[in-house]
Structure formats: C-alpha cells, structure tokens
Amino acid sequence: MKKIIEKIQVGILAGSSLVTSLTVLLIIVFLFKEGIGMFNKSQLEEGYVLTVNASNPVSEIDATSIKNVFDQNITNWKQLGGKDEEINLFSIDDLSNFYSDEQVGSDLEYLDTCMNDYVKNHENTLAYFPRKNLPKNFHGKEIQVGSISVYNFVKGKDWLPSARPVAQMGVLPLLLGTLWVSLGAILLALPFGLACAIYMAEIAHPRVRKILKPIIELLAGIPSVVYGFFGLIVIVPLIQKLFHLDVGETALAGSIVLGIMALPTIVSIAEDAIRNVPNTMREASLAMGASQWQTIHKVVLPYAKSGILAGIVLGIGRAVGETMAVLMVTGNAANIPHSYLQPVRTIPATIAAELGEASYGGLHFKALFALGCILFLFTMILNIYVQLVLKKKRVK
C-alpha cells in the first residue's frame, strides 16, 4: 500500500515536469491553428459581396487589384482581364449617389431589388454591398476574392487590416519596424553591456561586484509598462526637443528604451561566460608577462566569445518580443521605416494594439495570430541556438 502511494506521488512529480513541454506544444497548436487559418479566408470584408453583370467575363479579382479599383488606380475592365470598358463602381458607402432613401426604404428593405436591377442594367458595373442584401434570384454573378498568399503576407507593403472593401495584410512594415527598433536597441546596449560584464567579471573588486549584480537584476525586474512610462515622459520629449521633431515617438525612442531593457540580459549572460573561463588560462597569460588588459583582450574574451554572443542573441530575442514599452514610445505608424526619427510599429505592439478590436475568428483576428506565430518562431529559434551554444561551452 505504502509503495503504491509513493508511486502515485512520484507520478505526480513526473507529470508536473511535463507541463512546460506540454505548454510549448499547446502554444504551437493554438497559435498556428488560428494563424494558418488566415490563408484560407477571403480578403473581402466579411458580410459583403462584390458582384458584376452576368455577361462580364471576369469572375475572380485579387485583393490588390480590388484596392486599386476602389482607389481609382484601375478604371478599365481590360486591366482585370475583361472587356475594354470603363469600370462603373457601385459602393454601398456612396448609396445616396445612386438611390434615394425612398427607393431603398428606410431600413434598406428594398435594396435587394434595387441591386438586382442595377447590376442587370449596368453591364460594366462592379457592385459592393452587404451580403444580406444579395437578392434571392440574383441576375448578376458574384466575384470571388482570393485569400492572401504567404508571399503577399510576407512581402506586402501595406498593413491596413480594417481597410474596405479588402483588407491589406502586408507584414513587411511591421517586420522591418521590429528589426530596426531591436537592432538599434542592441547597438546601444552592446557597448554598455559588454563594459559592465567585463568590469564585473574581471576588474571590479568582489565587493563592488556584489553591489552591481543586484542592481543589474533590479533593472531586469522593472516592469515594461514602467519603462514605457519613463520613456514616454522623459525620453520622448527629449528626442523631440533634441532633433526638433513634431512628435518624439520614434524608432529611436523605442531603441533607447529597449536598449535599457536588454542590458541586464546581455550583462548577466556575458558575465557568466567570462567568469567561466578557466583561471589557468589567465594565469598562463599573466605569467608570460601580458598585462591584465592584454590577458582579457587576447585570452579571456576570445575564449568566452560564443557565450558572449549567446548573451547578445538572447538580448535581441528579448527586444524583439517586448511589447508594452515599445507600444508606448514608438508612435505606432505602420510605415516602412526610413529613418530612426520616424514613428514605427513593431509586431508585438501591433498585436497588443489591435487584438481588442478584431472580431473573433475574422481575418484580422487570424492575421494577428499569424504575427504571433512569426514572433514565436523567431524567439524560439534564437532560444534554441543560445542554449545549444551555452551547453556546448559547459561540456567543454
């Protein structure tokens, strides 16, 4: 009996140890299930239809072309593979240009009949209206709008998830925004992080190190909203004044705040790597008459190189995934960045800012999960790389 109880207890311990692996697995399943779903969804706004006259040879238009039609950049059916006729655009948004209130009824109850007539009588029309007003015995035909391709998702230059009638889901500006802000952060944090790590591991008196270490840890413990608040109130106005900008919320502000946040990661991992260098190496170098700096520079740092690199990579991972602070200081304009003095928008900030307003299960919702997948994969790869590097070092 006692044995059985003990077996059960050990079983509980073993089960607990699997929770983290299970969670990672569940994250993958749930994120990717929603994320991949976006590639099967039409880019046309949900609940709406695009229709043409039955005699129109065009039956499918891709999302970019539809946007161009509605932006008046494409005005002829020929450009869409149809007849050489001008496109006569009908949009529910401009309903009053076509029908009076009496004709469609106060609750749009007669819109079905109106649409049926309109599409029937206008051979070159492209009509956009709610699906619920699609007439039962419709004389026209519905235009199929393709779903977004992975290529267009990754390379698309516009992120306009709530644009009508077709949403534009190009990740490129967000991807570049994330990379710009993170790289800037690492470039700012790197010299300070390395200096701190080398100082703590090689130069400082143990007593000084004992004071410095908790301070660096504290820097890691401050919540990201507090960094965002600090950035918004101190760094953003400073940048605005310094560079004479209209708004201080820029990629640079994001990089500075993220740089501060990435600092502790870089310091602690690089310091560990440096301290793990065997003392015999140092002693050998010093015995040859090298100065302490020469020893650090020529012996210790090259030996600890891969560990230091791991710290930098992990710092990049932290910076890429950081949400709230970036959301608060970068201005969140989804443009392809050209300068550090412009507002940018990162992937995590986009998810945080837009998930609340995206309707559950819709294209926008799924697209935000797809962004989450990108983020997850990116940080996962960095993490695994770092751990392999650190492990190899330990085995040595």
Binding site: S21, A195, P214, F230, Y360, L382
Partner: protein
Amino acid sequence: MNKKALIQQIIFWTFRIMSIMVVILLFAILYFITIRGAQAISWDFLTKSPEEGMVKGGIFPAIIGTLYLIAGSLIFAFPIGVFSGIYLNEYLKDGKLKSFIQLMTNNLAGVPSIVFGLFGMALFVNRLHFGDSILAGSLTLGLLVLPIIIRTTEESLKSVDDSYRLASYAMGATKLYTIKKVILPLAFPNVITGIILSIGRVSGETAAILFTVAAYFLPKLPHSIFDQVMALPYHLYVLTTSGTNIEASRPVAYGTAFVLVFIVLVTNVIANLIRNYFNKKYKA
C-alpha cells in the same frame, strides 16, 4: 608608467565609467518615479476607487486585482513548478529526456509575453470558455512564471550537498521520504526566492493580461474567479495612453508607477536577502 600600463588604465577606467553610467541610469529611473510618485501616495490613493474619469481618486481596485492575479497564478504555478523541479533534479538522470525538458522550460521562459497573451486568449478565454476572467488571467500568468519557479527549485536542490541524501538513505529512509523530510526543508528558503521573483514578475506583467483578464475601468471588486479585474500595470498603461484626460491623470499615473516599482524593489530585496542568508548559512 609604461605605455602598456597606461593603455590598461585608460581602458579599465572607460569600463568603470560605463558601468557607473548604467548604475546612474537605474537610479535616475527610480528617482524620477519615486520623487513624483511618492507625492501621489496617500491613504485615500491606496484605498479608493478611481473617480472623475480616472484623474482623481485612488487605485484600490487595481491593487486588489493584482493581488488576486498574484495569488491565482501562484496557486497554480507554485506546486507544479516545485514538483517539476524536484523531479528534474532528484529523479531524472542526465540524458535526452532531461535535456529535452530543460530545453522546453527555457524555451517557455523565452516566449514573449504577448504570445502568452494570445495563447491564453485562444485556450482559456475562447476554447475553455472561461471568458475574460481572473481564472484565465491567472492560468496564463502561472504558465509565464512556471520556468522561474522550476529553475530556482532546481538550483536550490542542486546546492544541497549529496552527503545529506546519503546519510538519510543510510538510515533506511526511502527516496521520497528523504526528499520530503531532509532535502526540501534544507532547500526551501531558496525555493521561496523563486516565488518572490514570480510575484514581482506577475505584478508587472501587462501584455499577457491584456486579452485574458484586464478591465479598463471596473470600480467594483470581483465576486468570483470568472470576473474581470483591473490590474496595476494595465491601469498605468491606460492612464498614460488612452485615459480621458491624459494630462490631468499624470499624478495618478506617477503614483501607480511608484506602487509597481515599489513592489518590484521590495520583492528583489527580499529575494536577495534570503539568498545571501541561505548561502552564508549553508557554507558555514
């Protein structure tokens, strides 16, 4: 002084000054938030609900909400984390399974918190129909801090000398009995540091609760674990970015930031004290 020594002096001083700058930076942040935040703190601020579009009144519901989230996430993460740490360190032998679990635990620690938020929303809020609730938020936050607790448990068990285990076995005690009566009591103070650090992390976490529990404004306190709550970090975010009157709500924002920093400061100091005390005691 020869050239070699001079160069070394210059470089060492550069490093020293850069390290001092990092320290100054931390103190600048702390000073900045403390000096303005402390002015906002009063008994009313800590015990009253937000008033007049959140520019007046206090942050009581947010404090309570954060306390609920701390308790909720730890109820879940503490036992699982400690059990998991025990199994990893005491039972599993070095091998593929152990390194796989450790790899996954470290991976989980590196997952961005906004991804936890997405996951929590997909699984707890939508799939399991918990809705935006303390339960969903606590589970999400619990998973988020699980790696911290596992790691500190593992580390603290590792630091218990093998002679204790062998002595216990020699007395005829079983492995589980040894762990329960000998190893855990010895390692426990250090295990606690993991909990304390988790408290700091949970109280400051925003992205993971955005879509799982946090309420923009909710003056009444929650009645069940299926209610939404306000939380300190989200409250600070709302006050600084989307409040009705951002300028007028600044003092409240400073006060909230101060409370957050205070919690982190206290948890860090306590964790360090315990660690130092334990290390000293153990070495002696």
